[in-house]
């Protein structure tokens, strides 16, 4: 036993290692990146397991699945939208089942600090009909990850751990226990892992048959404590994950606190919820995400004789991250007396591209080239360069999901947009830009793809990029892009005129062009030199 200072993400990572992890895979994405960062650090120091940045989340998932097939314990982690990318193997892994323990960590971002939506991964667990853990603090991050491997091997199914930004990126001390040994290699049964219809139908029956056992596990779990207030039957509260902390912050643990059920495991502990609902008149549901519990409880017609409140009734805002202040208000408590803001207008300080960032020079040249080409549309992708949407650049018109810029530019071109431009970073291109470009090259679509090659995954802190430099050029050529219209530029102020000319020429070319804008990320080049 020892205490360690860890981020929520790191506590999950260490829990996995101590559970006998053999291999872990991930693609960078806030707020999940620190899980793999930490694992890579541990693997470099002590060894004994693989910790790998994969090329995208789907690949990461499949790599983890292969390790599980071979009987070893595997973990795959990513941000919530990464689970969309990995949804295909994820859903089907509930059908194959897990052989070695398989734990999936999906870090949600309520409040959208660094994301394009606030989708709630608990719904994915429900969709796949597997068990989900939702830790509320650092100790639970560590303990539940260890337990998730046990449950995965007991049920022979993948288990999902749902994190949120606030816990992923919060630091506290954690009591860690003795590690256990890894599993030996033992292969899965091919009939379970080959989802031909006959096998798949049998597997789905097995999965459905396991649901009652999962509910029983939730009902017996000490992670779902129920406290009934014998003196008050008016209000009861159900809170999941870190929402439970905000509840306790507001009311403490004394005798006056309302009846309370904390939910940390899914499927929902039905018997515990029934006991709480039977005991009180009004149930307030607090969830840092979508109203999963509230909606389930309410159903189509509500609970006769009971009032169910939460996000759906306006007791809690319909969207956005929860906070201690929101929960205080939902509980009918007055705000604490505070100093109050001063009357000086607080100028916002939005995130921005670093001074000297290569993207800035590319955007300046792109903006100049677009002057006199009023029909131009720039579809962008996800990375630091998404900040090009903001002044002073105002250079891009979309940001949807990883790799979307190329497919969207093609669709826009197909229906008449000229010039249709796509802007995508090298890591995002490797993640999911290659396949749409392969299709666009086959049709020689009239569009211009600008690949910003800064040789790293910059926004998330400089993880490796698998398709940069010379390799990237050969890759693009191999996809069938004509050599004459595969150009490179170096985004520097001194090259501005040349770069504007090259971008303009390729915008005017009536066919597919790819311009690779090559200059190392300024942060990475500094790191390398120091």
């Amino acid at each position: 036993m020892s205490r360690q200072v860890l981020l929520g993400d790191e506590a999950v990572a260490l829990g996995a290692v101590h559970a006998g992890l053999a291999a872990a895979y991930s693609y960078p994405g806030t707020p999940a990146s620190e899980i793999m960062e930490y694992l890579i650090g541990l693997a470099a120091k002590d060894g004994g397991f693989k910790a790998v940045w994969s090329v995208n989340e789907k690949v990461a998932y499949e790599e983890a699945l292969g390790a599980s097939f071979a009987g070893r314990r595997a973990m795959v982690s990513f941000k919530h939208v990464g689970l969309n990318v990995a949804a295909d193997p994820f859903m089907n892994s509930a059908m194959t089942g897990a052989n070695g323990g398989l734990v999936v960590v999906s870090a949600d971002d309520p409040g959208m600090h660094s994301s394009q939506n606030e989708q709630d991964s608990r719904f994915y667990a429900q969709f796949a009909q597997i068990v989900c853990f939702e830790p509320s603090d650092h100790q639970e991050c560590y303990d539940m990850t260890r337990e998730a491997f046990d449950v995965s091997e007991k049920l022979k199914l993948p288990v999902l751990i749902r994190l949120v930004t606030r816990l992923s990126h919060s630091r506290s001390s954690v009591e860690v226990r003795e590690p256990r040994a890894k599993n030996d290699l033992h292969m899965g049964d091919w009939k379970d892992w080959t989802l031909l219809p006959a096998n798949a139908r049998r597997r789905l029956t097995v999965l459905i048959g396991q649901q009652a056992e999962m509910v029983r596990l939730s009902e017996a779990s000490p992670a779902n404590p129920l406290t009934l207030n014998g003196k008050s039957r008016s209000l009861g509260v159900i809170a999941s994950g870190i929402a439970a902390n905000y509840f306790r912050e507001a009311v403490g643990t004394g005798d006056a606190a309302p009846s309370f059920l904390k939910v940390s495991t899914y499927p929902l502990p039905e018997a515990l919820i029934r006991r709480l609902v039977d005991h009180v008149e009004t149930v307030l549901v607090l969830e840092d995400g979508y109203p999963l519990i509230e909606k389930t409880l309410r159903g189509l017609f509500g609970v006769p004789g009971k009032k169910i409140t939460g996000r759906l009734t306006g007791a809690v805002p319909a969207s956005g991250e929860l906070s201690p202040d929101i929960v205080r208000k939902a509980l009918g408590l007055a705000p604490l007396p505070a100093h109050g803001l001063s009357d000086i207008p607080l100028a916002n300080r939005p995130p921005q591209l670093c001074v000297g960032c290569p993207h800035a020079d590319t955007f300046k040249a792109l903006n100049k080239a677009r002057e006199g080409r009023p029909g131009s549309v720039v579809f962008s992708d996800i990375g630091c360069y998404t900040l090009g949407a903001l002044p002073p650049y105002s250079a891009i018109q979309s940001c949807v999901c990883m790799g979307a810029s190329i497919g969207m530019a093609r669709g826009a071109s197909d229906v008449g947009v000229r010039p249709a431009v796509s802007v995508i970073g090298d890591s995002t291109f490797a993640h999911s830009g290659i396949t749409p470009l392969l299709g666009a090259a086959a049709a020689d679509v009239d569009m211009t793809v600008i690949i910003l090659d800064n040789a790293t995954t910059a926004m998330t802190g400089g993880q490796p990029s698998y398709g940069a430099g010379e390799k990237l050029l050969r890759l693009v050529e191999g996809l069938g892009v004509a050599k004459d219209h595969l150009r490179t530029i170096e985004p520097l102020p001194k090259n501005h005129e040349t770069n504007v000319r090259i971008i303009a020429e390729e915008m005017d070319h009536r066919g597919l062009s790819v311009i690779v804008s090559v200059r190392e990320c300024i942060q990475e080049s500094r790191k390398r030199r120091s």
């Binding site: 109050g340 001063s342 100028a347 921005q352 998330t460």
Partner: protein, 191 residues
Amino acid sequence: MKQDIILAGVGGQGILSIAFVIDNAALAEGLQFKQAEVHGMAQRGGAVQSHLRLSDGRIWSDLIPKGAADMILSVEPLEALRYFDYLKPDGIVVTSSTPYKNIPDYPELDKILAAVGKAKRSVIVDSEKLAKEAGTSKAQNIVMLGAASPFLALREATLRSLVETLFKPRGPAMVEANLKAFGLGRAAASV
């Protein structure tokens, strides 16, 4: 004992280093702590804050409720003002007077400092000057940690030893400069 602190600054100013020292000092002194920080998109040159809570009992929320902060500790004066709604009516503000101007509409510095001065208790320190005096302008964060140290529920010796731990990998000159920065900040706050 319970102490809630809002750490504030601009991405890159080193508030996570301040947090490292306080977190580990708390661990060394047997206190509980939780410290919520900002990574990723929110960090690039933008406003950055960290909620740091110390207690000898259980800490529930990672976030400090509005009106519960005992201290705002800021490496930048405008950033100190941004979180005044978190401050207790009698809370203390410890801030640098050195502005970080990476936005076009940065308010007048005099007005900012006057607004900081309206807090019941405030300590304003010229962190740039003191850091340079200590030997490196990069040590402004540690100057501010020093300036806050008389008001923290942690021993000076524990804090100093963690400043040492933090900078040890960067060589003895950096350790010395940062310890000096800590001392100059502490002295400036104690005047």
